[in-house]
């Protein structure tokens, strides 16, 4: 239990000459839930892809489950972390079940076909996001929110101990937003999963995460417990707009002043 699911040492990330973070140190232990917040274009997605080992950092290194990303094969990395991207482009047709089954890829050998058990895992994942009964639908007939939930089901089918979620709430309506966040918070609480997610709503970040990382877009960042980091003062500075904090039963929300 003492190996962090994700460890970052002296990480610097750049994209197109723009500095996202500089010298970031971070450990995520089992059960840890980290929110990443920042303005549009601050580099949240770039940072998350780097944490997933999908981008090469300009300095420092990322470890997944105690092994450096660069020493892991793509398949080994896929067994240690699941990454949810922002865009699901589907140039070719496919059914919902086939798409969810792609999450089982790292668990299968080169010549293996998906087994009944894999199909059951995929069906359970679909049921968990409320897509039961849509298994045979073509993906291009899904709505934006359904497509996003399918992407989350694919992630659940992958069954990795670390979830890296880029805007998991995109296109989701309120009930599904809460269901998805409760699902991942539950995985952290009950199964010791680690969760890192890019969020836009500081109130949800405060409610579902224990730590937050604010990225200001100039390479500076601030990491700490949600209670100390998610305050009206810091968030007003982060978004460049005055915010007012409203508290209720230990929860916080922020409204434009």
């Amino acid at each position: 239990m003492n190996v962090p699911l994700l460890a970052v040492h002296g990480l610097s990330v750049e994209i197109g000459g723009h500095q996202v973070v500089r010298g970031l140190d971070l450990d995520l232990m089992p059960g840890g839930r980290l929110a990443i917040l920042g303005r549009n274009g601050a580099g949240k997605s770039t940072l998350l892809a780097t944490l997933a080992g999908l981008r090469i950092p300009s300095a420092g290194h990322v470890e997944l489950g105690g092994t450096a990303c660069t020493a892991l094969s793509a398949r080994e990395a896929a067994l240690r972390r699941a990454w949810l991207g922002q865009v699901q482009a589907d140039p070719f047709g496919s059914t919902v079940l086939e798409t969810a089954l792609t999450g089982r890829h790292p668990h299968l050998g080169r010549w293996d076909w998906e087994t009944v058990r894999d199909a059951q895992i995929a069906r359970n994942a679909l049921a968990a996001v409320g897509l039961a009964g849509l298994e045979q639908r073509q993906i291009h007939t899904l709505s934006g929110g359904e497509r996003q939930r399918l992407a989350i089901a694919t992630l659940l089918a992958q069954a990795a101990p670390l979830y890296l979620l880029d805007e998991p709430l995109a296109h989701l309506d309120l009930n599904h937003q809460m269901a998805v966040l409760e699902r991942f918070a539950g995985a952290a609480r009950d199964c010791g999963a680690g969760v890192v997610m890019v969020l836009h709503d500081p109130a949800l970040a405060h409610r579902f995460c224990d730590r937050a990382l604010l990225i200001d877009g100039d390479g500076n960042c601030e990491l700490g417990a949600v209670d100390t980091i998610l305050t009206a003062g810091k968030l007003s500075a982060l978004y460049g707009y005055p915010l007012r904090q409203i508290g209720d039963c230990g929860r916080r929300s922020f409204v434009p002043a």
Partner: protein, 270 residues
């Protein structure tokens, strides 16, 4: 009997359909075909140069293959590089190289003497009569299919996006390089044997997709079979329709392929 010619037709059709299916995944574009990256253009330049110089059949095949390899290496060299631009750059580079080759082909047709022109046109439209032996393309088809099949499930993921595939455990860059080389060499083998026969590589994978879905583990072998069968059928028609005169088989595959493809497109729109 015409068995060697029929077998060569089957092999070329299979190679083209397989290469087409692979190119569509590689470029993540349903409209990609084996010729989109300039392979047939390069082969055409080589073959027409050989005909223009009056080389024998072996010389035509040789120069066609050299031309195809040259175009492949040129596209690969120019488009190579990491980063998100590679896919668009690969497509653009290929299309531009193909256009350049097209210009050279037109130039050679324009300056060719009358007695060579007919052979050149037949080569360009695709003609299995040039096939000397069925074994080289059959062997190429067997090898290409054997090399592609172990990667079929990874190709399913690649079709869904580069980052998505990488996140799910596919070594994306290595796979894309391998598929590019494999599809290009399969195309080169077919074009060298029978000229640039159109539409098989574009239409057959789509036909198979309609019947068997988009799982590459079925799509790749089924495309190879269907492509082979279609080209064999078209070649039989080409030889018998206005016998004893022969039509170039490329004309017939296009005549069959165009309405089928338009039908598929109109279905897709609905």
């Amino acid at each position: 009997m015409r068995l060697p010619r029929a077998l060569a037709g089957f092999a070329c059709g299979g190679l083209l359909a397989l290469a087409g299916a692979l190119m569509q995944v590689l470029l993540r574009n349903p409209l990609a075909d084996p010729y989109i990256l300039g392979i047939s253009g390069g082969a055409g330049v080589g073959a027409l140069l050989a005909i223009l110089l009056g080389l024998p059949a072996l010389g035509i095949d040789g120069l066609a293959f050299v031309g195809a390899l040259g175009a492949m290496l040129l596209v690969f060299g120019l488009a190579h590089g990491d980063g998100s631009w590679t896919q668009t750059r690969l497509l653009l580079t290929g299309v531009i190289v193909a256009a350049g080759c097209g210009a050279l082909v037109a130039l050679m047709l324009a300056i060719a003497p009358e007695d060579r022109l007919r052979g050149m046109l037949f080569w360009l439209m695709g003609d299995l009569g040039q096939a000397a032996s069925a074994w080289p393309p059959l062997l190429a088809l067997a090898i290409a299919l054997a090399l592609a099949m172990p990667f079929a499930r990874e190709l399913n993921l690649l079709a869904r996006g580069l980052l998505q595939a990488q996140a799910l455990g596919v070594a994306v860059n290595r796979l894309r390089h391998a598929i590019f080389l494999l599809a290009s060499l399969a195309t080169a083998a077919s074009v060298t044997t029978a000229g640039s026969i159109g539409f098989i590589g574009l239409v057959v994978p789509h036909l198979v997709r309609l019947a068997a879905g988009n799982d590459q583990r079925l799509l790749l072998p089924a495309s190879a079979l269907a492509g082979g069968a279609l080209l064999m059928f078209a070649d039989t028609l080409a030889r018998s329709l206005i016998a004893p005169q022969q039509l170039p088989v490329g004309v017939l595959t296009a005549l069959i392929g165009v309405p089928v493809f338009l039908f598929l497109l109109s279905r897709q729109a609905r």
